[in-house]
């Protein structure tokens, strides 16, 4: 489980900037170019691919989830922020993994393992969902123990799900933690075809046990 309150070792300076302590035992991976400032002896090194090794590089290149990341190592503290977007800090405790799009990741502990996941595995429906929502056919999954900072337009709010189904706008969906099924539901009627729809024809139906994070805007980036 994770919650908004426990920020782990990441300290939220304000709603859009996070301060991250770095030590030889605690390196972090961050979005390339998101460093705002640092103190101490800190080095930045580009990393390629989401996972480790050649497989990760190939996987990232194929998937289009090629969000450029950089490893931050050394001893000191670093400020991260990106394009004035809001930052949400989550603490993963190893019991559940975080699923989100790669470009939502601002910075996370290098102790978290990331993998690129092919959502088309869920059959044609899942593949259609990726295509319709513009999320692509791949998502990034983080597992392990450690903090992670997510980007959102307008901040996120957490919706705990315990067995029920929650409808989420595909453009407002940020990510989810836990064992959740995400399914696209399309209710496209004749009203939508003639421009008299409610604007909510496509919805993600999220069910299971976990928490889904939703942003206060329908802007993708």
């Amino acid at each position: 489980m994770s919650s908004m309150g426990t920020t782990g070792s990441f300290e939220q300076v304000n709603s859009k900037v996070v301060r991250v302590p770095v030590s030889p035992a605690q390196p972090v991976l961050a979005r390339r170019g998101a460093m705002l400032g640092y103190s101490g002896q800190v080095t930045f090194r580009p990393v390629f691919g989401q996972g480790h090794g050649v497989g990760g590089v190939v996987g990232a290149a194929m998937s289009g989830e090629s969000n450029p990341m950089m490893a931050t190592e050394g001893e000191g503290s670093v400020l991260y922020g990106y394009r004035g977007l809001h930052v949400t800090v989550l603490q993963l405790d190893g019991s559940a993994s975080l699923t989100c799009e790669a470009d939502r990741l601002l910075v996370h502990s290098a102790h978290l393992q990331s993998s690129v996941e092919f959502i088309g595995q869920g059959g044609v429906r899942a593949a259609v969902r990726g295509a319709v929502t513009g999320q692509g056919l791949f998502t990034t999954r983080l597992h392990g123990t450690g903090p992670v900072a997510l980007l959102s337009h307008g901040g996120t709010f957490a919706m705990p799900i315990d067995g029920e189904t929650v409808g989420v706008d595909p453009q407002a969906y940020v990510g989810h933690v836990g064992a959740l099924q995400v399914e696209l539901s399309a209710k496209v009627g004749w009203r939508d075809a003639v421009g008299r729809g409610s604007g909510e024809a496509f919805q993600l139906h999220v069910s299971g046990h976990g928490t889904v994070y939703v942003q206060a805007s329908e802007k993708k980036f």
Partner: protein, 205 residues
């Protein structure tokens, strides 16, 4: 009446079988069983309102949310403020309306010259009745009091809404300096007189 809770940039609406009208496409999440459908012509205001909107260019695209559950609404990460209407009228720019409760009537009022200069059209939307309106603003909404003998002047681009017995006038500061590029950057302003409240946002459109 549904329970509305504004929380920074989102609005939570708890429905128990009621209906609320909200800006089209503004739903970001919902629980329970809720249906979304187009609110019809004139944002549910009927044919006359639709015609006036068409003429005035003050279009409101609303949808009806009906059912039981919690709907969360948000738009472009704009701040949300709830305004209670105990039977009076709120004048508001149509793009600043996030949601209106049932029982409120939306209409269009012509305002004349003011709209032309601000690019907001010749008309403004009025919301009348008993209920609640959720307003959108770029930054936290600021309510400024206007009393007799205490007129208020605001920037047309920062103006969001107003209520009460108010006369609105456009004040022009245009002179030859404006045309040679030596203006102050504030060629027009809105002057309010009477008794009421003017809502502005800390950003200019």
């Amino acid at each position: 009446m549904p329970t509305l809770t504004a929380e920074k940039r989102v609005l939570h609406v708890d429905l128990q079988g009621e209906t609320i009208r909200a800006a089209q496409g503004s739903m970001v999440a919902y629980t329970g069983k809720v249906d979304f459908k187009h609110a019809g012509m004139g944002g549910g205001g009927g044919l006359k309102a639709a015609l006036k909107q068409r003429v005035a260019g003050e279009s409101i695209a609303l949808m009806e949310c009906t059912g039981a559950g919690r709907v969360t609404l948000a738009q472009d990460a704009l701040d949300v403020t709830l305004v209670d209407l105990p039977g009076d009228t709120l004048q508001v720019e149509s793009e600043s309306i996030l949601a209106v409760t049932d029982g409120l009537r939306l209409d269009v009022r012509f305002t004349g010259l003011r709209g032309m200069t601000t690019g907001q059209g010749l008309a403004t939307t009025t919301v009348t009745g008993h209920g609640q309106v959720a307003l959108l603003s770029d930054g936290p909404l600021i309510g400024l009091e206007v009393g007799p003998g205490v007129p208020l002047v605001v920037d047309p681009d920062a103006y969001v809404a107003s209520r009460g017995q108010l006369q609105m006038n456009l004040v022009s500061g245009v002179s030859w300096k404006t045309f040679v590029g030596e203006g102050s950057g504030e060629p027009f302003s809105l002057r309010f007189e009477g008794q009421g409240v003017v809502f502005i946002q800390p950003a200019e459109r």
